[in-house]
């Protein structure tokens, strides 16, 4: 079996029938990580117990016990998700030495399904960034070309998955942080509907926008992961009690007659010629597959980026208030607590513990929530947010999914946009609406740029309609130009 290409099902079948052991699978990926990670900086912490955990699965199998649907599959986890006993930093100095006393529900569910956790993946600090350049643990590289960013904020997940340092990875998406890096690195990334996946144990950035999801090599692996991680969790009251479909069993490339919406507002966007070409090619392919195109309008998407930055920064300023140097995390070095003023203690700790981008968003959020500005900014944004969602609900009465590019351009070079805040923000123009409206969205690799970098297409689905976008992605994947192509690190 070729572990560089094998899907979850193939590996699980081989492990349960003892053609290969979970320990062998784990060793393979640990060795590959040891060799390639110094170049990429995708993993920032390896688990000390990965081999033990794998051996426990092999033992269960040899004793004839039942194992989960992902038995022996090796995963990397974004450092936003708490892992019991394994350092979890959110990419920040603030949590440099934080060892969680419990697992996030997503991690618990993966482990119960037989997944072996290899380690923790690099990311922008507190998931605030689109290039993985704000991480306290250093930049992460794109394995297709190390001069380029892997995207962000789930840059480590994208880089590790594209380089196959793991069989699967988990990312989080607040405004595009799963879909954009997936597009930049040629992998499949799904942001589930808000409420599909438990946020328990995930470091909170913007609670009304955050969702975790799979960043993997194929649509089938994404479907298999979603079956495991989705569903109601009593530890998160915002999770839906809707049943979780058997996404992988329902996959089909027969999408004849499906209605695909084209957003008028996105058509006038300024696209990089390679993205434009890939987008046109995807339309052509879908046409051949017998889909019907429908023009839809969601006029408020024009305002999605400023709306997103305002709402996410406001929620972040509130969520990040917990980092005060008292109960856990970084504390500034004080000689003598007894002569200290409490406010100075907080301010100095937070001033030193947070990076520049995080502080910028806390400042923006604090301003928008402060007395006298709350109605003009936060409340106003939330009102327009409802109008935006209602426009989407109307649009989805006419179509099954909306097709668009994920970003206006392929991956950009390291340091190229780190000084230009607005260029970086505008990068999120196609992805933020999905989170604001609570919809599901995914990126599926479809084309290559003239420089040989992958380009993904985005499918956005209505609330709890993951199956529809997975099926369209499954069909696109079967004719994708990226299929069979691998980054040069292979």
């Amino acid at each position: 079996m070729d572990l560089l290409k094998a899907g979850f099902k193939e590996v699980k079948d081989a492990v349960t029938t003892k053609k290969i052991s979970a320990v062998e699978v784990t060793k393979f990926f640990l060795a590959r990580t040891e060799k390639l990670n110094p170049k990429l900086n995708a993993f920032i912490k390896m688990s000390d117990t990965a081999l033990e955990d794998a051996a426990a699965i092999d033992k269960k199998i040899s004793q004839g016990e039942t194992v989960g649907p992902l038995a022996g599959v090796a995963f990397g986890i974004k450092d936003m998700l708490c892992t019991k006993g394994l350092r979890t930093t959110a990419g920040s100095k603030m949590l440099e030495n934080f060892i969680p006393p419990y697992d996030a529900t997503v991690v618990t569910r993966l482990k119960n399904a037989g997944v072996v956790v290899l380690g923790k993946l690099n990311q922008d600090e507190f998931a605030m960034g689109s290039s993985n350049e704000t991480s306290y643990f250093g930049k992460c590289k794109n394995p297709w070309n190390e001069d380029y960013v892997p995207g962000g904020s789930s840059g480590g997940s994208a880089s590790a998955q594209a380089a196959r340092l793991a069989m699967g990875t988990i990312g989080t998406d607040t405004g595009g942080s799963i879909r954009q890096p997936s597009s930049f690195t040629g992998i499949v990334g799904v942001k589930p509907t808000y409420g599909r996946v438990s946020r328990y144990g995930i470091v909170a950035f913007a609670s009304s926008l955050d969702q975790a999801g799979p960043m993997v090599s194929s649509v089938e692996d994404a479907a298999l992961t979603l079956e495991v991680i989705c569903g109601h969790d009593k530890m998160d009251s915002t999770t839906s009690q809707k049943p979780v479909p058997e996404f992988s069993k329902n996959l089909t490339t027969n999408i004849k007659g499906m209605k695909i919406g084209i957003l008028k507002e996105y058509e006038k966007g300024v696209l990089h010629p390679d993205v434009e070409k890939t987008y046109r090619a995807s339309l052509e392919s879908l046409k051949k597959m017998g889909v019907e195109f429908v023009d839809v309008s969601v006029s408020l998407t024009e305002f999605a980026v400023p709306m997103y930055y305002l709402i996410s920064a406001s929620e972040a300023s509130s969520n990040l208030a917990r980092y005060d140097g008292v109960k856990y995390g970084f504390r500034a070095d004080f000689k003598d607590l007894s002569s200290m003023n409490l406010d100075d203690f907080y301010s100095e700790t937070r001033g030193q513990g947070f990076g520049t981008e995080v502080k910028r968003r806390i400042m923006l959020g604090t301003y928008c929530l402060s007395s006298g500005y709350f109605d003009a900014y936060y409340n106003k944004a939330c009102q327009v947010r409802r109008m935006l969602r209602d426009q989407y609900v109307e649009a989805f009465k006419k179509c099954d999914a909306i097709l668009s590019p994920v970003t206006t351009s392929p991956a950009f070079k390291l340091n190229e946009r780190s000084k230009d805040t607005l260029a970086m923000y505008m990068n999120d123009i196609f992805t933020t609406s999905t989170n604001l409206a609570g919809l599901t969205g995914l990126s599926v690799p479809f084309g290559l740029s003239s420089e040989g970098l992958p380009i993904g297409m985005q499918l956005t689905g209505s609330h709890f309609e993951e199956q529809k976008i997975l099926n369209i992605a499954y069909a696109l994947e079967s004719v994708s130009d990226v299929k069979g192509k691998t980054p040069h690190v292979f």
Binding site: G195, K234, P306, L337, S338, L342, R350, L364, K380, M387
Partner: protein
Amino acid sequence: MIDQKTIEQIAKLARLNLKPYEAEYYSEQLSKVLGHFQHISAIDTNGIEPLVTPSEIEFYARPDEVVKVNSAEEMVANAPERAGHLFKVPPVV
């Protein structure tokens, strides 16, 4: 334009010690981002209820049962400074 004085006030509210160059930088950045929000301010939202939870989620309350989650020792294990099971902080009064 968000002036230096406003920046200092926000930093105080957010409990963030900023260095002088940071204060200058954030003043410029905040003005830019809020400038983009001007277009949103012009949208008529009269009578619209603000949206916070974006998908339909049924209300759920779990049974009020005592369950053991973590021990006190586990919960203070990450404390920067502690005395037994207590967190050590500067005097507050």
